[in-house]
């Protein structure tokens, strides 16, 4: 088998090898792009999970703070009520 002759493709090397090369490139792109797409979607969902977890935590902290404030107010309110009664 003569390799130089094989690659020459009877003088049509440019046309034949460009066709095969492009086919190869497109097939590879079709394999790579869905893999990247999958990574992107998973990363996006992970970020969303994290964000929501943070929101829930913040809310819990805020709720606790609100509760403390309410009890404080109640305390002062009670004291004020006590003060009112002679």
């Amino acid at each position: 088998m003569n390799w130089a002759k094989f690659f020459d493709m009877g003088g049509y090397a440019f046309f034949v090898w460009t066709s095969y090369g492009l086919t190869f490139v497109l097939l590879v792109a079709n394999v790579v792009s869905p893999i990247l797409q999958r990574k992107k979607v998973i990363a996006r969902v992970k970020r969303a999970i994290k964000r929501e977890a943070m929101v829930v935590e913040n809310q819990a902290v805020e709720n606790r703070a609100d509760k403390n404030r309410v009890t404080e107010n109640q305390d002062t309110g009670n004291r004020a009520a006590e003060n009112k009664t002679p």
């Binding site: 088998m1 094989f6 493709m9 009877g10 003088g11 049509y12 046309f15 034949v16 460009t18 066709s19 095969y20 492009l22 086919t23 497109l26 097939l27 792109a29 079709n30 394999v31 792009s33 869905p34 893999i35 797409q37 999958r38 979607v41 998973i42 996006r44 969902v45 992970k46 969303a48 999970i49």
Partner: protein, 225 residues
């Protein structure tokens, strides 16, 4: 199932390439340039096949409201578009040495170009419309209407006097092609077909993850990853 399709596609592809590039004889008229056929024709067949899959699943999605069906349709579009593009470019690379021109406004070539634009239109509608259900409806309608182009492409070489040659394989009579050239062609066609199955499954899965990104099953799945 994805690895099975992927592995068998690779096996068929390698064996088909070997048969096509080393075993198949030189054509008596076109010399070695005809070897483009082994990527050109399977790509063109896939461009039609994937379009039909896309249109049928879009129709199923529209009529019976099956979400998975819409996902298959939108997952197929980019793969189909790339095969259509490949068929057009390899065709023009074959046309230059044989016809003397990269492009002619021949019925076969023009209708295949319209197919590429149908794919692009579908993809554009999918990404332009924010609401997924509306996007599926609009792009699905385009896909279904575009089906008329499929028989036009297939019969274009019969209906019009085209520069493009007539059918050599898909006809009722014996294929007008030697078996030593037909075998690699069919091997490559099977390889492309299996390749599409593998890729469309991966893409459909991505599509499902993306569309259901706010649902619990995706959350639980991703949390485990």
């Amino acid at each position: 199932m994805i690895p099975w399709f992927a592995i068998s596609a690779a096996l068929f592809g390698v064996y088909g390439l070997y048969q096509g590039l080393f075993v198949a004889p030189t054509d008596y008229q076109q010399g070695e340039s005809y070897r483009i056929i082994f990527v050109h024709v399977p790509a063109a067949w896939m461009s039609l096949f994937i379009y039909v899959v896309m249109a049928v699943s879009a129709a199923i999605g529209m009529i019976w409201q099956i979400r998975l069906s819409d996902m298959v349709a939108s997952a197929s579009a980019p793969i189909g578009a790339s095969f259509t593009f490949l068929a057009l470019v390899t065709g023009s690379l074959w046309g230059k040495p044989m016809w003397g021109a990269y492009w002619v406004w021949d019925a076969r070539l023009t209708s295949e170009l319209i197919l590429l634009f149908l794919y692009f239109g579908y993809m554009a509608l999918q990404s332009a419309i924010e609401d997924q259900r509306t996007a599926d409806k609009a792009s699905g309608l385009l896909a279904i209407v575009g089906v008329v182009n499929i028989p036009i492409i297939h019969y274009s070489v019969v209906w019009w006097n085209t520069l493009h040659q007539g059918a050599t394989v898909t006809k009722f009579a014996k294929p007008s092609m030697d078996i030593s050239m037909l075998i690699p062609l069919l091997l490559m066609a099977i390889a492309f077909q299996l390749f599409y199955f593998a890729v469309v499954l991966v893409r459909t899965r991505n599509e499902a993850l993306f569309r259901d990104r706010n649902r619990r099953w995706v959350r639980e799945l991703v949390a485990k990853l």
